[in-house]
């Protein structure tokens, strides 16, 4: 059984039909990279997976549990699905350390000193232990994004979603974030990564999915998609960005 199973997922914003029947499975430990033109529904798909958007139709099954079930405790489910955003979204009134301890204490009810130990462990993991007492505005974009990754990881999720996490960064700061993500992939984390970083997709991705206009057009290994795409639209998209 797949860790994550998405069955005929639709999302409409009023009349706008953004996701038009997405089917995909993600295995435990797999790194799935999603590429596609702007407006194709990549962010909407990720946001549906942790229910920041309410799916209009379809099922999302995490480890055998249908998380679109209205009776489910969505706050419990969200702890199992980490998400990192393009705009970092660190809590601006809290230090790097507090950004990580707050959800541990509030959501998981972990005592303060234990939460701090966990937070430091994950800050170390992203190479920012020495920035624990810095506020977000005292950190570079790349550092903020690494804290955001550490914050999501500290909740001990089963799947991590990344939505163009390097797009808002200055070019020289992209690598430090990608390096953290590569290490995470090597450690066996299940990841769904929306990105324009084709080098990353090639190197780390087990599978690449090309989305266009609310549908999955084509999927395969990075090798298949990048060197031998089957669909004209995939070819056109790749020729534009590569």
């Amino acid at each position: 059984m797949s860790l994550l199973e998405i069955i005929d997922l639709h999302k409409k914003f009023g009349k706008l039909h953004v996701l038009k029947g997405i089917n995909m499975n993600v295995e435990k430990g797999e790194v799935v990279v999603i590429i596609g033109p702007s407006g194709s529904g990549k962010s909407t798909l990720l946001r549906c997976i942790n229910r920041l958007e309410e799916p209009t139709q379809g099922k999302i099954i995490l480890d055998g549990i249908d998380i679109t079930d209205p009776k489910i405790n969505i706050n419990k489910i969200r702890q199992r699905i980490g998400i990192v955003f393009q705009q970092f979204n660190l809590f601006s009134h809290l230090t790097a350390l507090e950004n990580i301890t707050l959800p541990l204490r509030v959501v998981k009810k972990i005592p303060k000193d234990e939460a701090e130990k966990i937070a430091l462990k994950f800050l170390r993991k992203v190479g920012l232990e020495d920035k624990a007492d810095h506020y977000p505005h005292q950190l570079s974009g790349g550092q903020q994004q690494r804290v955001a990754i550490a914050r999501a990881l500290a909740m001990n999720p089963e799947v991590m979603l990344f939505d163009e996490v390097t797009s808002a960064l200055d070019p020289e700061l992209v690598k430090e974030v990608l390096d953290v993500m590569k290490q995470l992939a090597r450690d066996g984390m299940t990841m769904i990564v929306v990105t324009h970083e084709m080098g990353f997709a090639r190197e780390v991705g087990d599978r690449v999915i090309f989305m266009d206009n609310g549908k999955i057009v084509e999927e395969g290994t990075p090798e298949e998609i990048f060197t031998n795409p089957k669909h004209e639209r995939t070819r056109k998209f790749l020729s534009m960005i590569l």
């Binding site: 702890q79 809590f91 909740m155």
Partner: protein
């Protein structure tokens, strides 16, 4: 005698303790009212933005009524009107109630703007980590909203402090009424009223400075 009108320096010195006492009462009423107003305003401000038409309607009606009617009328409704409805309050309580209800409406608008000034991504990030709406509001959105609206709240405090002079009409011995009482027994208006004005200034000026300071600090924080 040189000076303005009938200003009497000896009288002025003699009434200083009374005026100081009045100022203290003014400060007390304003502080209590702003605290209750803050609670009322935070709840109302949240009711204004949650997706619930009934809460929206109630909170909007409250805010519009208060902002659209004079505070003096509101004070009189509470003090003279409520007893006719069987609710008899001592003047002090009526005064604090009227001021709290009044400032609650203005603070609600400040809170609403403050919450809306916090980027949407903050709430989303909090929810994505498993926090409930209430937890996200309490630990993430409201602390940032309050930081952003501190200057506006300070200004509201100053406005309320001045407006509390209207409590003199329901016989509360605050600063303005003290001045009027002194005038009534001395038949000298200039001395007590200038004294009253001076005491108001001594309270509002430091507060305005504090507000300016907070505004500059937040400005610097935001741009970083």
């Amino acid at each position: 005698m040189v000076g303005i009108g009938q200003f009497d320096i000896d009288l002025f010195i003699r009434i200083l303790p009374d005026l100081a006492y009045g100022a203290l009462i003014t400060l007390k009423f304003t502080t209590f009212s702003i605290l209750f107003g803050l609670i009322l305003g935070t709840i109302t401000g949240i009711f204004r933005i949650v997706r619930n038409p009934i809460l929206n309607a109630f909170s909007t009606a409250y805010v519009e009524f208060i902002r659209g009617t004079p505070l003096l009328v509101q004070i009189m409704i509470v003090y003279y009107g409520l007893p006719e409805a069987g609710i008899r309050l001592p003047p002090e309580l009526a005064g604090i109630l009227a001021l709290s209800i009044n400032s609650g409406a203005y603070i609600a608008e400040i809170i609403r703007a403050g919450i809306q000034s916090v980027p949407k991504g903050q709430m989303e990030a909090a929810r994505s980590l498993g926090m409930t709406y209430v937890q996200a509001m309490r630990y993430v959105v409201l602390p940032q909203a309050f930081r952003n609206i501190l200057p506006a709240l300070g200004n509201e405090f100053i406005a309320l402090l001045k407006d509390s002079s209207l409590l003199s009409v329901i016989a509360i011995a605050e600063l303005t009424r003290m001045g009027m009482q002194i005038y009534a027994v001395t038949f000298n208006a200039w001395t007590p009223l200038l004294g009253v004005a001076l005491f108001y200034l001594m309270m509002t000026l430091p507060l305005s400075r504090l507000v300016d300071y907070a505004q500059r600090r937040i400005g610097g924080h935001e741009s970083a």
